[in-house]
């Protein structure tokens, strides 16, 4: 006798079929909400809620086929879904506003990849984010430090892009020339974690950390795109070094002096904390 009812098929297959049905339903909800929003039938908040529930269903359905070792609980399912939703939102935003201006003029004419300034920005942005990602996810701490170099240089490039010449030079001099060298010294002066030199940079709970990062990026990016910023009509690209010097010695004189005292205190404190002989002397005095 052929099995006709869903209740009679083996339980494993039945689980798969249920997951598949939920997956298809989630896809339909997601696509339907997007289409309804595109035609103006659904307000934005409802669309986002419907899309989120669709993504939750998609993630739950896909879990039967991918990442099966990751058990989704009532807590991790919404968090992972929010992460996936954030990534989808970013993709949609980039396809709309980033790829769009590259390919089509404002009049709708195809112009190709001509905006060199945009390309330079994206090169710096990719350099920054790739460097930061290398710092966050590399398994070797030396590689992490060198990735940090690219992140710092990319940020300096973004400063130039924003017309901030002095902060850009300060970034290169202080971060790349000072802090990064300090970090490399600290790495070389301390023993690595564990015996395996390839695993000096171990992680704790990396999947949850990555989900947290995706949720943060999604939330902040949504806010950055949607918020009605009071933009200035004509941003300037004039040099600012002289104005910065004047500001430091007039409006910001007290913070400037306090900063120099803080630097001096940090210098003395670092020497006292790090030097062995001074510490032993202090210990003997205290005893």
């Amino acid at each position: 006798m052929r099995r006709t009812s869903l209740a009679e098929v083996p339980s494993n297959l039945r689980v798969y079929l249920v997951r598949l049905a939920v997956l298809v339903a989630g896809l339909l909800v997601f696509a339907g909400a997007s289409l309804a929003h595109a035609f103006g039938l659904l307000p934005t908040a409802l669309t986002i809620a419907a899309q989120y529930f669709g993504v939750v269903a998609i993630v739950w359905g896909l879990n039967a086929f991918f990442f099966r070792t990751v058990a989704l609980s009532w807590f991790t399912l919404p968090v992972f879904s929010a992460a996936v939703f954030g990534v989808l939102f970013l993709l949609g935003y980039f396809v709309q506003t980033v790829a769009g201006p590259f390919l089509i003029d404002s009049t709708g004419r195809f112009i190709g990849l001509v905006r060199l300034v945009d390309l330079i920005f994206y090169a710096f942005a990719v350099m920054t984010i790739a460097g930061a990602a290398g710092c966050a996810f590399s398994r070797n701490i030396i590689y992490s430090a060198w990735s940090l170099l690219f992140a710092f240089l990319g940020v300096a490039g973004l400063y130039v892009f924003l017309g901030a010449d002095f902060p850009a030079v300060a970034q290169v001099l202080i971060y790349v020339g000072g802090i990064l060298v300090l970090i490399l010294f600290a790495i070389m002066l301390t023993k690595q974690i564990g015996e395996d030199p390839k695993l000096t940079n171990a992680h704790l709970a990396l999947p949850m950390g990555a989900a947290l990062a995706a949720v943060t990026v999604g939330t902040l990016a949504y806010m950055a795109v949607m918020a009605p910023w009071q933009l200035t009509p004509a941003p300037s690209y004039q040099p600012v070094s002289a104005a910065l010097g004047t500001a430091f010695l007039t409006d910001f004189l007290l913070p400037f002096e306090v900063a120099s005292v803080v630097l001096l205190a940090a210098l003395v404190g670092a020497v006292i904390i790090a030097r062995k002989e001074i510490k032993e002397h202090l210990d003997s005095v205290l005893e």
């Binding site: 945009d118 950055a224 933009l231 300037s236 670092a270």
Partner: protein, 106 residues
Amino acid sequence: MTTSIGLPHFLIVGAALFALGMVTVVTRRNAVGILMGVELILNAANVNFIAFNHYVEGPGKITGQVFSIFVIVLAAAEAAIGLAIVLAIYQTFRTIDVQETNLLRE
């Protein structure tokens, strides 16, 4: 300058930097790695300061850049003190795994 780059682009880069720095701080076991994450977070804040200075505050005003310079100064002080503390921890515990350094004295 004809460009489609605006404030949201820089804010998104800053958000990505902040999130990656936060992941580094939260998940690393190496104390030096955690300090690297703190540097990433400070850089993200600086990108936002300078972007807002450029696109919102307007020409002739540089308060955002002044603030970013102060952030860089404090980041340098923080790196010096933090790495000195890491070295002191290493001299005491012979490791900089933050999972194992759970005492305030030897």
